[in-house]
Amino acid sequence: MWADALPNLLIGLREGLEAGLVVSILLAAIRRSGGHRASTASTAPIWLGVVAAVVLALSFGAVLTFYRSVLPTTGQEALGGALSVVAVVLVTGMIFWMRRTARGLSGELRAKVADALRVSTAALALTAFLAVGREGIETALFLWTAAQASGTTVAPLIGAAAGIAVAVVLCVLLYRQSVRIRLDLFFNRTAILLIIIAGGVLSYGLGDLQDAGLLPGRTWLAFDLAPHLDVSSWWVSIVTGVTNLSPTMTWLQVAAYLGYLGIVLTTFVRAGRQANQPTADTPKPAEAPAPAPSRPPMRRRTVLTAVTAALVLPPVIAAALIVFAPGGLAASGQQIDVTTSACAPGWSAARTGAQSFTLVNKSGHTAEVNLVQAASQGIVAEIETLGPGTQQTMSATLAPGNYAWRCLIAALPTTVSATVAATGPAGAGGSAPRPVTPVSVADLTPPLNEYNAYVTGKLGQLAGQVVRVRADLAAGNIPAAQQDWLPAQLTWEQVGEEPYGSFGDSGVEIGAGPQGFPQGVNDPGFTGLRRLEYGLWHGQPASELITVADRLSSDIAGLQAQLPQVSLDPTDLPIRAHEILEDALRDTLTGQDDLGAGAEFPETYADTQADQVVLGELAALLNARDPSLLPTAYQQLDALRQALLATQTNGQWQSLSAAPLAQRQRVDAAIGAVLETLADVPDLLEVPAH
């Protein structure tokens, strides 16, 4: 945890120092100039700028937290870069203005200075605002990304707060120090430091602008020390923090840094030398009027109020707009809000054709949102889970007609929006898909009951077939047992059971293969029809297999006894419709299931029969939703059975490996075709989650 805090402590210290240095120099200047006048009002603009900047930074942090994607990286860089360059210009101006002020002060031109100070109230406030605002936004950004990266917010915040506190203490100490020294000396000493910092800020800002793509040369590096330095070490943090130089700099950054330092330092030093020699155009004290004291206090308060408003209100208003009206940012779609009490409250107009909506969940709960066609009550588009406080884009294609939004939140009443007519040309943006009426568990219960009755019948048949296999084994007649095994296996296939047990353990014991058993086919836990197949086709003695057959009979009896209770969940029945044949394609027609009988084609044939039964039970529900699906599926199932029968030679099934490639391809193509059709069944018969 404290490893997360440490970098942020350094960040807080660094950003705090950067901002604090500028603020304390400004404060010192004001204090010094106003010190003999008993008036302290002149520091207000600086604090105003600081407060405005803190508000800006907090607003910025809030915006980032609420909408992480609001400012793209390039936007953050462009803003940071532009702020940096503006700050450098102002700080440089301040340095020279202070030098003139200091010179004037040493010449005891108090009135003129006071005037200058008042005139530049806005400039002072702006400088403080920019200095603190820039660092504040940086800190907010750093903190936010650090919190995102570490997944916790407490440690980074504590670290940053500690860093800022240390920075403030340091600045106060510096400040105390500065008020004791003479003003001109103070300026001479601190201005150099300030110029060096400003040079770093300029270079840093230009680098940001390059990263944002606003200036060229991002890839034209002067040096890259990053691989050779531990950027997270404390001394690198302090050096980069104080100078604002980074271990990787482009030529533009280096040139700007050196150029700035060269020009500004030279000019500053030269100006200092000139200041020590009286020149002809030095203003005479007597020529200066003293308008400052004559200004009415009311006027000053008005100016302050105006500046306050100008500085503090925009970021607050902007942040409020961004946080509370996110729709303005999602330019790509119409915004649909979900709240605890209303569904799409602002929805009042719709157009036909393909379009996208931005769904914003303000309810604080997970919601499901449906766009419903009023006439059919069918769903046109949906988002099944919309997390609290999140937004998602949903695309939909609307035909002319009336539509409403339905919001479903667990434990809350379902809310429905106003019904709105979609207007516009029919068929704009592609033909609209058919709306789908949701299915309820009650709708699926009769089909499931039918299916259970069917399975009961099949299990009775299976029990009899296993009895025959056992009789063959008791007679020691393996060939007869092999012949009688196939009908039993096919009856089980016709049940349409999942290989991994939609009927629980009993189903697994009857039908599953050796996959998943540590010792495979030799595992003592491997039982059932596949175990019999393995034994019958691998020369195992009848006596050993009798045990397997007995166990199988008792498992079948057990399943018969439990049946209605252990059967499918009603919502699984629509999924079985395509899964039965997907299992056939995946496990049977690849030869994976075969343990010697080579019965892949008849087993697949039996699977088509199981599928036909399931589809028949779902027919009413399917026909109501897509009348063309079942005729197509039945035709394709028939084609699949024809392709399977075509693999027979002289009316006898062959094994998969014996079939010529062309016959296998026809089977694979036919099963592929019917699976593409059946893929719609679970979507058409889906029971809403809420």
Binding site: R625, A662, A669, D680
Partner: protein, 410 residues
Amino acid sequence: MDINRRNLLKGGAAGVVGTAVTAGLLSAGARADAAAGEATNPTAPDLVPFHGIHQAGILTPTTQQRYATHAAFDLTVGSRADLVSLFRTLTDRAWFLTAGGTPPDLGVGSPPSDSDILGPEVPADGLSVTLSVGSSMFDDRYGLAAAKPKLLAPMRTFPNDALEPARCHGDLFLQLCANNPDTVHHALRDIAKHTRGGMQLRYRMDGFVSPPRPSGTPRNLMGFKDGIANPSGAEADRLIWVDSSAGEPAWAVGGSYHVVRLIRMLVEFWDRVSIHEQENMFGRRRDSGAPLDGANEFDTPDFPQDPNGDVIPLDSHIRLANPRTARSEPSRILRRGYNYDLGLDENGNIQCGLIFACFQQDLRRQFEAVQTRLINEPLVDYIQPFGGGYFFALPGVRDAGDWYAKSLLT
């Protein structure tokens, strides 16, 4: 006045210098950015036009896309009418995929129409779809026997071939090429989904073209530059497209015979061969790609000056493949090969090689003549053709009203 003039001059000079330095820094930076951007961006175009009198993926785009999948299919449609609707579907998919766009919205009653491998907007990404047909399509199933291109037949077995039936021939052959591997994967999956039931994948090979190392023609996995002497421009047009003069059926004009050979390279064995022997087998320098009698990649070998093969051996690959005589000139082919890498063989050797693909007007005069000259070239010890087939690349789909093989099937 004097001081002001000097200041003016000084200020002016400083301004000029400052402006020059700034402009220099900015323009040098911009140039560096552009250079850095170029190194990462592919040079192949993003959109390869689908419609035309010839199919794309043969002569266009001129810079071969970096990735390809080659897939052979067998037809499983039952009737000629189903074949027509299959070719119409193939046309629709190829047009959509090569143009890019938003996949249709199927609503809540169906799984999504697209796999989203390329994101919600399908980019064109330089995709070309080239559809060819094999001679087996012209058997008795669809009543097309009379319309078979004159020279189309099952691929011959050449003396050094070790053909695996499962990776030979096919009723249809698709060559999908694009700037990125996910794009060709997406295209194959999309086409297979939309044609499910009508055609069945038979075999498939993914390939890649290496970037120029360091420049010029890309290298194959034997380290040699491959494809240096490919015909281009009007010459290529003359050598590749089937025209009406050769007694081919009218529907075939504008198409091209398409030969695919899957050739394993025994790279471990090759790497144990001395550089001298390697270069003699190819007839080119390995580093530069120059013919053994030349200095640069694109120098023309001067075989008449070297009648006994003292410099470029008579049995070297480039000399057998293209003897550069007046008689051999009409046998030139357009090669459009891709390297493949399939992992390992059962001995733990790297299973890789070349998906050799070439296009020509006349199978016998061109590919078979070249391949006959190459029989028993020294290189055969290091390569092993194991699959492929002869196909006929259909004429282009001319416009929105046209579809693949329309003039064959209507």
